[in-house]
């Protein structure tokens, strides 16, 4: 829900609950298990060192860390592109070493950096790769490909083009569609968005969140970008060089309580501010006293402001839409009988949605506002109330009390309560 509010650009195309793809594993069920897995290369380099990791079904697990920390090796061991030196990896309870590699891989979607599309195949045949390998007819595989193109937001007329005719972002969408084509419960993503520019990357991340809110696949995503990890991960495993996990936690708890200096350093600047992304703006108590209709008399509005000890009131137009800020001193100097709407108004700036946005959005809007107060609106754009730094401070404090930060970092998998905090509510995802 909260992250939903952080991405104004998400197209809410899907009212349907995925007729194309099944939902992945029910949440809470552990789908992939690493049992003291070690990968040692000839020459002695240890890429992954005695790793224990449980990937819960239906969630996005992000492996993040600097290069050479073993995150990519860890990912590639799941579909046996790399085989562990010791230890066991279980997929849905089955030791992966016991299945035929090709069969195993056809049941696991794989998205690679730079998409790795087959340059000699059309888009539809690229997407239909795994269905074709599984013995579907070409016609059926192509029909399937077209469904998936719609799902990942590609125009159908691209179906017969070749990869070189597509932009980087489009190619990456094809890569995701291709990975989903056989409807695997597990999706492995190896730095999927690192080869595209930041704007496209943000869009693709939003798309992933949208798809995941709908599909609940078990996603393991590798990235070196901690922002990306925090944005798309339900859980984030931060690796340290030498193939060990420094901390495994929800993004919010990582930001709130990094296990050690390494993690804190890796998380980077603004940890406190970024954490506000995970706190709902709905927890903010807004001031509706300072909101006056444009038809209110100017003197009354001035009185309201003065009584509250404020310099500004927010003037609203028809349908409670915000119009701008009026100062109490302007209102006082207006002739008697004048309406508030006739006062000189300062622009109200950015608004935030009290239902879907985070405290970070509210804080940002407040900082940007010339009056030091920001306007909270509901989904119809109607003014609910206005912020103040005092109110923000109280809301942040209250939220911190409500979501206790565990004293034992680096530890336990998410409890049931976390699912609620993390999960973009389907309605919210379909909004905007």
């Amino acid at each position: 829900m909260l992250r939903g509010g952080m991405r104004p650009g998400v197209a809410g195309t899907d009212q349907r609950k995925s007729p194309i793809l099944r939902r992945g594993t029910p949440e809470g069920h552990v789908l992939i298990t690493f049992e003291s897995v070690t990968k040692r290369y000839p020459g002695g380099t240890v890429a992954v060192d005695s790793l224990d990791l449980e990937v819960p079904g239906g969630q996005t697990m992000v492996l993040v860390g600097p290069s050479g920390c073993g995150k990519t090796t860890t990912l590639r061991m799941i579909n046996r592109l790399i085989e562990p030196t010791s230890g066991r990896i279980l997929l849905d309870g089955q030791d992966i070493m016991q299945s035929n590699p090709s069969t195993l891989r056809r049941g696991i979607g794989y998205v690679i950096q730079q998409a790795g599309l087959f340059p000699h195949r059309t888009i539809e045949d690229n997407i239909g790769t795994v269905p074709l390998l599984n013995g579907w007819g070409r016609g059926k595989a192509r029909a399937r490909a077209r469904e998936l193109m719609t799902l990942v937001g590609l125009e159908e007329d691209l179906a017969r083009r070749y990869p070189y005719q597509l932009s980087g972002g489009q190619q990456q969408r094809v890569g995701v569609a291709r990975a989903l084509a056989a409807d695997p419960p597990v999706l492995l993503m190896d730095e999927p968005f690192s080869a595209v520019d930041p704007i496209v990357r943000a869009t693709l991340q939003d798309e992933l969140l949208r798809l995941q809110a709908e599909l609940h696949k078990t996603v393991v995503l590798v990235t070196h970008d901690v922002e990306e990890a925090i944005k798309v991960g339900d859980q984030v495993a931060i690796f340290r060089p030498g193939g060990k996990i420094a901390q495994l936690d929800t993004p919010e708890r990582l930001l709130a309580a990094p296990a050690d200096g390494y993690v804190e350093n890796f998380l980077g600047f603004d940890r406190g501010i970024r954490r506000l992304s995970f706190l709902a703006a709905s927890g903010l108590s807004l001031d509706d006293q300072a909101v006056v209709g444009e038809d209110t008399s100017a003197s009354m509005a001035a009185d309201t402001a003065r009584r509250a000890g404020d310099e500004y009131v927010l003037v609203t137009g028809p349908g409670q839409q915000p119009r701008g800020w009026a100062t109490a001193s302007d209102l006082e100097t207006m002739p008697s009988g004048a309406r508030t709407g006739q006062a000189p108004l300062e622009p109200y700036g950015h608004t935030f949605d009290v239902r879907t946005d985070s405290l970070r959005a509210a804080l940002d809007a407040t900082v940007l506002s010339p009056t030091g107060r920001a306007v909270g609106v509901d989904d119809g754009g109607q003014v609910v109330g206005v912020t103040s730094y005092e109110r923000l401070r109280a809301a942040i404090h209250a939220a911190e009390q409500a979501v206790p930060v565990p004293g034992t970092p680096g530890g336990a998998p998410a409890g049931p309560g976390d699912g609620q905090v993390r999960d973009p509510a389907p309605e919210a995802a379909a909004e905007s």
């Binding site: 592109l81 056809r106 790795g116 599309l117 195949r121 070189y164």
Partner: protein, 231 residues
Amino acid sequence: MMWSWIPQNAAQIRQLTLESAYLGIAPALIGLLISLPLGIACSRWRWLYAPVLSATSVLYAVPSLALFIVLIPYTGLTDTTVIIALTLFSFCILVPGVVDGMRSVPDPVRQAATAMGFGTLRRLVQVELPIALPVVIAGLRVAMVSSISLASVGQLIGVSSLGYFIIDGYQRDFPTEIYVGAGLIIVLALVCDLLLVGLRRLLTPWRPGRSSGETKTVAPAPVPTPMVVAR
């Protein structure tokens, strides 16, 4: 130039042109067939490529006439002798072509194919070879053109081709015959080359258009061996 000579000898010209085409094209195609497995092996086991490349370079340096003479005790003064020798030369040109072709397959593509669940053979046939095709065809163009022109040397051991006109014209001091022989060899090579370019375009609609590269008659093929003098 005595133009009337041409219609007077039309039948022989046609006959020898076909002979030349056969002696030039067959070795290039057979060379392709045998260089594919070796080239694929060399791209899979990298240690194999260095010795193979040395061997093919040495072989390519052998003068064609010398190779004919080595073969005569076994296959006589026949087409077979010429075809075997030219096949070996084509092979020398094509092995690096196949290896470079296989190397032109981007790593992420190969990796994606494996991760999608292609087995080794299926990946080779459905992914790697189709992507290697343009580079392999570039090598084939060089092999075919060189083999068409080398076929004329076979005339020295009595295997007839357009080379006959060149030698005969020289011996009789009759330039027209030399021009016709040499000219037709060049035309034949150009036509075959254009056909291969056409084939490449037909088979690789997935390549970004590179019109500047298309008009060249000799591809910038990956030929590691210097064109040896003693042809």
